[in-house]
Symmetry: C2
Subunit: 295 residues, 2 copies
């Protein structure tokens, strides 16, 4: 299984669909559509849509009707980045080497572009009904996403992250922040696909175990890359966590133990998939790849 | 038909349901739940949920399973006010006589409380499936709301409103702004209820005609109240439009012609309901009441 090729193919598929769903020209007001499109196409590995599609593959469910749903997950991720970068939040001027939305379009438009992406995401999640998707399953999948993006996940993580600023927190609290802020949307991407594929409760639990360990490995690797990564490949200055005295896995555990923990999490993630056939190879490879990436 | 009693009963019903859906204590992070609840319970006539329920009544559809859906409309309205009040947008310190969300909780929490209300609204819209609501109809109703709150309505109106600042605009442009910014969510409240009630396309068109004229009468009256209203009853200083040189109906048409136009819009709105039985009396009374209100 060539995971790089798989990732590339799926990312291309998602990018084509995003291009169709977020047309560049003519739509009014132009600045709103430009701002939405700008941030969505400012890079990104499309990891959440890819996890969603790889889960459908693992469960042998055709993915074509659900491409807009996969894109919705990327729109939600993008809206969260736009709002997170705002002056009142992280106040970041650059993201992936480009000016952030509020630097490019002004703060009001950035807030509204985020709001619009979130709202439009729900329109996209509804849309597979036109291609014959089961309405019951769609509703259940949308419910998964509202939890992961909202009060049982991402927004909670954002609030906890803000509360932790300039405070001494422990490893437990750090994990709670990441599990909510990043992990929950990964989990929702996987769980919503599982629900759409009509997965049984036992397998849903196992895929959730995969998702949680995937998210942990992802976050630890993020922190490690901030210490040892290459600024050019990261699209942002490395070493910034240490400068800002941010609590990270390496600052708690040291670099070596952090790398070990990331590897252990990957192995745990893969272990959860042991009953699944070859269709789950992309999910397995994705977990291994998450700690080998350079950005 | 006693419209004041009807309004009061429905608003009580909505407030009880909102109280249940947004519990005050124990949920973490507390500040997030406090901020969500604060703005939702900072007053408001619950007009969008009431229009939603009155439409169900008009079409003789039981409303009980859809109470969370009705509340979702209020959450979306509330999130839009929180974001609209932000320093980067209208920069308002007071709303309905109380400190705005960012004044009370800080800007970051206000942004996140808005995001959380919007996300949670979709969870509530999904939830009537547990009470046996048709999944197909729920998806179609959610789609109506994504349009009205998003790229075919409210957010477009916000962007147009920002673009019109410090510019000379015409009456046409003023109407386009209001139709999107305020009218579209009224229309979505009515159309989503109609879709849930299984309404036929002809009646859906008529209810949309009602909604558009209702929205117009509402907005004209808002502008008139800013000229002649009572500061205490409005919860904000009147005369502010004129001070800020905002373009309004009275500034275009004069007070008398504006009042006339509001009356005409109400009569048109009511005319659209002519085929509907006594169950539509609340919708009729609501339209008449919208120009007689004092705040």
């Amino acid at each position: 299984m060539n995971i790089d090729l798989y990732l590339k193919e799926k990312a291309n598929l998602i990018n084509q669909e995003l291009d169709r769903l977020l047309p560049e020209v003519e739509l009014k007001p132009q600045v709103l559509h430009q701002a939405m499109r700008y941030s969505v196409f400012a890079g990104g590995k499309r990891l959440r849509p890819v996890l969603f599609l790889a889960t459908l593959d693992a469960l042998e469910e055709p993915s074509e009707p659900y491409l807009p749903f996969a894109c919705a997950l990327e729109l939600i991720h993008t809206y969260s980045l736009i709002h997170d970068d705002l002056p009142a939040m992280d106040n970041d001027d650059l993201r992936r080497g480009l000016p952030t939305s509020h630097k490019k379009f002004g703060e009001a438009q950035a807030i509204l572009a985020g709001d619009a992406l979130l709202t439009y995401a729900f329109k996209l999640m509804v849309s597979p009904k036109e291609k014959g998707a089961s309405p019951e399953k769609l509703l259940a999948a949308i419910d998964e996403v509202t939890d992961g993006a909202g009060l049982k996940g991402m927004i909670v993580g954002q609030v906890l992250d803000i509360q932790a600023e300039n405070k001494e927190i422990g490893l437990d609290e750090l994990q709670t922040i990441h599990r909510n802020k990043t992990g929950a949307l990964f989990a929702a991407s996987i769980r919503s696909a599982a629900v759409l594929a009509g997965c049984n409760p036992e397998m849903l639990e196992k895929l959730t175990g995969y998702a949680e360990n995937f998210g942990l490995a992802f976050q630890i690797t993020d922190d490690i890359l901030d210490v040892i990564g290459d600024t050019a490949k990261m699209g942002k200055p490395t070493g910034s966590d240490q400068e800002q005295k941010k609590i990270t896995y390496p600052s708690f555990l040291g670099l070596e133990r952090s790398q070990e923990l990331a590897r252990e999490s990957v192995e745990k993630a893969v272990q959860y998939l042991i009953e699944l056939p070859a269709g789950a190879d992309p999910l397995r490879a994705l977990a291994r790849q998450v700690i080998d990436r350079e950005n």
